[in-house]
Symmetry: C2
């Protein structure tokens, strides 16, 4: 999750909503990404989506069965959909997203996927709060 | 929807699950796409996702407020999430997807988005059935 936060900081520095993600398999990071919606003018360019695409590219296969995603913010419905399709076996997220998170939409993750929330939640939340505070200033 | 079916046929010919999509604004098609999950080894490469990215690229902006998506199959959760973020004002789909469609997941579309299903549903379904029949043969 520390590495996901490093990615979130990169997003922050690039004036993107600071969310970062990494994908790990066998204790090795195989993909790292941060939100790029502004740079790419693309609402689908969330950190998780970029990370899934990068990990699949790295593994040369669509499915990420033995992989765990670490992401600083609770995934949205779109990203949980992608996580479902990619068959990720683990999802660890930081801060909750009570407005746009998958939990609020009552979306049920894949039964085989293990989901943990609240890991380094405070740090994950603080960088977002700081970003939006500066935006509004 | 006829043009979305043309896209689905392209997917079929490329040995991809035959789903096609177009995005229309002011009676003009600004994006056309078909499923590319096999070629790109990427579960996120659904027709709708490609079309949203292409339309945003065409308009040079993230949001597709005055656009309607025509897609041959009921969007999945991931794609409905992307449709939500893109603020598409209309979604017209062909065949229902009782297993993986957003309706089965009880996902509620954006309240401002108008959603119509069942348009050219038979043609949309037939190309899919034909594809999977051949796959199994």
């Amino acid at each position: 999750m520390k590495q996901a936060l490093v990615e979130a900081q990169k997003a922050y520095d690039a004036n993107e909503v600071p969310v970062g993600a990494v994908i790990v398999t066998n204790n090795t990071i195989i993909a790292r990404a941060h939100n790029l919606t502004e740079r790419l003018h693309d609402v689908t360019a969330h950190a998780e989506m970029q990370a899934i695409t990068a990990a699949a590219n790295f593994l040369n296969g669509k499915y990420l069965n033995d992989c765990t995603l670490y992401v600083t913010l609770e995934p949205c419905v779109m990203c949980m959909g992608a996580i479902y399709w990619a068959q990720l076996s683990g999802i660890v997220f930081g801060a909750e997203d009570p407005k746009r998170g998958f939990q609020q939409a009552q979306l049920i993750p894949h039964p085989k996927a293990k989901v943990f929330g609240g890991v380094m939640a405070e740090e994950s939340k603080m960088i977002l709060q700081d970003f939006f505070r500066k935006k509004r200033a």
